[in-house]
Amino acid sequence: MTVDVGPVGDFEDRRFRIVQAGALEVGVLRWSDRFFAVHNRCPHQKGPVCLGVVSGRLGGSAPGSMEVDEETPVLSCPWHGWEFDLTRGRALWDESYAVKTVPVRVEQGRVLLEVGRGQSAG
């Protein structure tokens, strides 16, 4: 099922907007000209993950260095700070741990989510 969640212009850059898409509460993020959407529920303790901090992925090529990868937005859950790579939904410290991603696309200036089979409220 395709759900229209509004015009692109309604989405502030680097800010999650929480929308209802069928039975799912989904966080939609505009990251420059890219969009990401994930189920607003952390796999850890079911916290509202999309209320957390979003930033480029922080890394360090050596102890003491702090580098940012702007191509990879990372979401930190406001409960406990667990971080997820939004390009794939995976936790940064364990590939097997993930937030549920929701397919998102832009058509004719509208942001569309694809929810349906396999996209239950879980």
Binding site: A62, P63, E83
Partner: protein, 372 residues
């Protein structure tokens, strides 16, 4: 009871007189230390402020001909080296090990150099099974690193040992890194021995100072926990990927609790230390060894065994007696507290992995004289 070959990773050797050490000081430092008239020598050793009410040494380890426990090779031979099938003993000094607790960094560096020469000449020369720690005055990390490199070609100077903490910073702090660069370069593990308590050392307990030896001894693991967490958080094992670390005399059953907590906290606070590429427990499993003494005693020994097993410590524990100290663990006793299938690893093979020794060569059966 285990009766196979043994490597003992914590044996305290000691000196009897100041003169033993003073002869290894440079001429200038000898002059500084001596010639004070009735005031005697400048103290060479910093003192721990907590007296043990019944003494720090096993009463039976005082040599028959006088002197300090751990100071007489013949006594050590009888009581330790010949008392089991001991193949290597790693010497860890006595009160002199608190050299990094001296206020004067230059004096500490010179003392450390002298202690190491004393250890090579007075001890390693007596028995090929003896190996020694390299003590460093970590107050001057670059000088300490040079001291490590000075022993690069002396294979039986097997590890760099830290005890006291001159900077009030966990040992992972970059101020100490020159020492680790030298350790990695020369293939020596870094050892951290519990019990820091010298003059310039910060309180070795968290939350505040304590009042009795009982309290400080119970809480020895706290300082070691600080250093272990500091090592991992500062990315020491990312910066020095071949570095090995051994934690001495702080117990081991607390490690699962600490590392479980560390892994959990890391998941939420990774942003602060993005140079880490693995879970803290993974760094531990790849880089850290732990001595057995003092093994925690639970009412049911299975409780301790299960804790140790949960963190894979059967492959990281190395036997240590702590001879001649009051709380030394005997091989016979320890072998009753740990599963028999672990003995070969804990008494021999894990230490070989730590120090880069060939277990098959070390464990080769002793040749016995044949009598007709």
């Amino acid at each position: 009871m285990y009766s196979g070959p043994v490597i003992d990773c914590d044996v305290h050797h000691a000196r009897n007189t100041d003169a033993e050490l003073i002869q290894y000081l440079s001429k200038g430092w000898r002059e500084y230390v001596t010639d004070r008239g009735p005031a005697g020598n400048v103290p060479l050793t910093v003192q721990d402020g907590f007296p043990n009410p019944h003494g720090f040494m096993r009463a039976d380890t005082y040599p028959k001909n006088g002197g300090e426990p751990g100071s007489d090779y013949a006594t050590m031979l009888e009581q330790l080296l010949a008392a089991s099938d001991l193949r290597r003993a790693v010497l860890t000094f006595g009160d002199d090990s608190h050299v990094a607790g001296h206020h004067n960094p230059y004096f500490a560096a010179e003392l450390a150099r002298a202690m190491n020469d004393w250890s090579v000449e007075r001890w390693l020369s007596q028995d090929p099974r003896l190996c020694s720690s390299i003590m460093v005055g970590s107050q001057l990390p670059d000088v300490a690193a040079a001291e490590v490199r000075r022993h690069a070609q002396t294979p039986r100077m097997v590890q760099v040992m830290l005890v006291d903490n001159p900077f009030n910073r966990g040992f992972g702090h970059p101020v100490f890194h020159p020492i680790y660069a030298a350790a990695e370069e020369t293939g020596r593990p870094v050892a951290i021995h519990g019990g820091a308590g010298g003059w310039a050392n910060p309180p070795s307990t968290g939350g505040g100072s304590v009042s009795t030896y009982l309290e400080t001894h119970v809480l020895w693991p706290q300082a070691i926990q600080t250093h272990l967490v500091s090592f991992i958080a500062h990315g020491v094992f990312e910066k020095y990927p071949r570095l090995r670390l051994v934690l001495i005399e702080a117990g081991s059953a607390w490690l699962p609790s600490l590392l479980w907590r560390f892994d959990t906290e890391y998941k939420g606070l990774r942003r602060e230390v993005p140079w880490l590429k693995k879970l803290p427990s993974e760094y531990f499993a790849e880089h850290v060894w732990v001595t057995t003494q003092p093994l925690e005693i639970a009412p049911r020994k299975e409780n301790v065994v299960e804790l140790l097993r949960s963190m894979g410590l059967e492959d990281r524990l190395v036997y240590s007696s702590d001879y001649p100290h009051w709380d030394a663990d005997e091989i016979e006793y320890l072998s009753t507290r740990l599963p028999a299938e672990w003995h070969d690893r804990i008494f021999l093979r894990n230490a070989c992995n730590l120090y880069g020794w060939n277990a098959e060569e070390i464990a080769v059966p002793k040749v016995r004289a044949v009598t007709k």
